[in-house]
């Protein structure tokens, strides 16, 4: 996702003179092409995220379209008040792009994990929260964000994740989930970098005769209510999948929506991280396994919920 972001940013920068890239001292060489093409529109803001976010708001108030970028916790929770007050309260069209969603940087430890950011950011008025499912969705999300005249948060994974789409999804629209594969027994609503894992889980389910609809629910705020209404009406089981805490994330947003609409799900299962810091060393795959977020665990739990065991 990371490389797609840098590449798309460079392309957009060629056409849109308002685009300014602000980095929190990260992305060594990643933005070389952008820098070369637009030396007056790339700034390394240093390890000073509060200032980076505040100045992004000031730029956005003065006709520019800044993108702030660094590792997820530092571009979100570290400067949360600047996001809330400078960006969202002023409705300043800043695009906040995070790399390393959830446990993408599991090996770096809890300081670099991000399992609370969706919760924080979606509760702020005027904020849009997008969690792209693959590199193509990152490209589409960036272009869609620039068309909005409002704050947007784009929560990316890392580099090298499996690509799901064949190209930029033409149907990509903020607040409109994308059905990747249709099915009839269970509806798997995946947000962000859980999409490839969800596809793997669906393969395993298929081996057991379970037909799964897979949805890339890339926008957590605003929710695609039409998609939810249809899914909860049609499917005997609906599941949300995210690499984020069960508190305040995508599954929580859907739960709130269910409570508010009075819609009663036949069955509803949420996959996410626990209310605990993940302290052990190990990479993302290991962390997912320990937290019940790997494909075979997802498939097992879905089959259980369907009464297959």
């Amino acid at each position: 996702m990371r490389n797609a972001f840098a590449d798309e940013l460079t392309k957009i920068g060629n056409d849109d003179p308002r685009l300014v890239m602000l980095s929190g001292d990260i992305g060594n060489r990643l933005f070389d092409k952008f820098k070369a093409a637009h030396p007056d529109r790339f700034y390394n803001c240093g390890v000073a995220e509060a200032n980076m976010t505040g100045l992004a708001a000031g730029m956005a108030m003065s006709g520019l379209r800044p993108v702030t970028y660094t590792i997820t916790p530092f571009v979100t929770t570290r400067c949360l008040e600047q996001i809330r007050t400078d960006v969202c309260y002023h409705e300043a069209p800043v695009i906040i792009v995070a790399v390393g969603a959830g446990l993408a940087y599991a090996g770096l430890g809890p300081t670099h994990h991000a399992c609370e950011d969706i919760s924080f950011l979606r509760s702020i008025p005027n904020m849009t929260v997008i969690c792209p499912g693959d590199a193509w969705e990152v490209r589409a999300a960036l272009r869609a964000a620039l068309k909005q005249d409002r704050p947007v948060y784009i929560r990316m994974g890392k580099k090298g994740e499996p690509v799901v789409h064949a190209g930029v999804p033409e149907a990509f629209e903020i607040g409109k989930a994308i059905t990747i594969v249709d099915g009839s027994d269970v509806c798997l609503l995946s947000t962000g970098n859980m999409l490839p894992e969800t596809l793997e889980a669906a393969k395993l389910l298929k081996e057991h005769g379970v037909s799964a609809r897979i949805v890339s629910f890339h926008t957590v705020k605003p929710l695609d209510e039409a998609c939810l209404t249809e899914a909860f009406a049609k499917f005997p089981l609906v599941a949300t999948l995210e690499e984020h805490s069960l508190i305040g994330g995508f599954g929580a947003a859907v739960s709130e929506w269910l409570a508010d609409t009075g819609i009663r799900p036949h069955k509803f299962v949420r996959f996410g991280t626990r209310d605990a810091f993940f302290k052990w060393s190990g990479e993302q795959e290991y962390a997912r396994e320990k937290l019940g977020l790997s494909a075979h665990q997802i498939a097992d739990r879905i089959r259980n919920a369907l009464g297959q065991h």
Binding site: V20, D40, R41, Y43, C45, G46, A48, A50, N51, M52, T53, G54, L55, A56, A57, G58, M59, A60, M61, S62, G63, L64, P66, E81, Q82, T85, D86, Y89, H90, E91
Partner: protein
């Protein structure tokens, strides 16, 4: 005040003039002093009527705000969103009454609206709002935000090749915030000379002497050490304030900090340097007495 001409070209011409000290508009000190006294009078009445806090902080920065709005800033109340206007950010948002009164006196909205300060359903809340009131450049109140926002505006001016200047008024207590110093280092690295900080150094913060709370002193040396061109002046010397602020960019190639030594509650003998006026509101009798001292009675 140097009002913006209608055309963009005209405005650029005007900025080129103001960047040269010898071409500066002569400072009418007596006129500015009178405006500052009237501004103080309004601020005291607003505090009395609304029963709100922060009067001492509002009074300490009246001369700075007067210099900005009556002499320095190229702003047009009829066109408050002109992209080429100078920006003045009241980063110490708790002195909102001073900003509101100045904006109303300069014609950004009717003077009568000052009577709605802190009233239910009004536009004049205790801290300046976002996207609600003409002339308010940034919603402040949480300290340490105005300078980063101002830097973004100054950077935008540079990127878009516009010649406006950005002024950010900070309190000394506000300099406790780490974001101020993040911002200071960034502005210096960028040699952002279209940016000016004025620190209203009234030596008090909400509950204690500022230098006993965190070690601010030597404040001018700190800003210099952070890469700024810095001066320390009497923050009630309105003529010097106007001349220094008008002379931005000043040719140093650095962002410019004015450490303005001020007195909290300035202008009213029984409020000066008495930190009880951080929270107290004056009675009707005290308003009358204050107005008399200010020569407004």
């Amino acid at each position: 005040m140097t009002a913006l001409p209608d055309s963009r070209e005209g405005s650029v011409m005007l900025k080129l003039q103001t960047s040269e000290p010898e071409a500066s508009t002569p400072v009418d000190v007596e006129h500015l002093k009178r405006a500052a006294a009237e501004l103080r009078g309004k601020v005291i009445e607003m505090s009395h009527r609304a029963g709100t806090a922060h009067l001492g902080s509002s009074l300490s920065c009246c001369d700075i705000v007067t210099a900005a709005y009556w002499h320095v800033c190229a702003i047009d109340p009829q066109n408050p969103r002109d992209p080429l206007r100078d920006r003045f950010i009241l980063s110490k948002g708790h002195a909102a009454s001073t900003l509101y009164a100045a904006l109303a006196m300069r014609g950004f909205f009717p003077l009568e609206e000052l009577d709605t300060f802190c009233q239910d359903g009004g536009r004049l809340a205790e801290h300046p709002p976002a996207n609600l009131l003409p002339g308010v450049e940034a919603a402040t109140g949480s300290l340490g935000h105005g300078l980063p926002i101002g830097i973004g505006m100054a950077m935008a001016g540079r990127i878009r090749k516009e010649t406006f200047r950005v002024y950010a008024l900070l309190s000394d207590g506000e300099c406790n915030e780490g974001s101020v110093w993040e911002a200071a280092m960034f502005a210096a690295a960028q040699k952002l000379d279209n940016l000016c900080v004025i620190v209203d150094y009234n030596k008090w913060q909400a509950t204690a002497r500022s230098n006993e709370t965190l070690a601010l002193a030597p404040l001018r040396a700190k800003w210099e050490a952070f890469g700024w061109d810095a001066v320390e002046i009497d923050g009630h010397d309105i003529g010097t304030l106007a001349r220094l602020m008008e002379n931005v960019p000043n040719g140093s190639g650095k962002p410019f900090a004015i450490i303005a030594n001020t007195v909290k509650g300035k202008g009213v003998s029984f409020m000066e340097d008495d930190n009880n006026w951080h929270y107290r509101a004056p009675t009707a009798e005290e308003v009358a007495k204050a107005r008399k001292e200010l020569g407004l009675a």
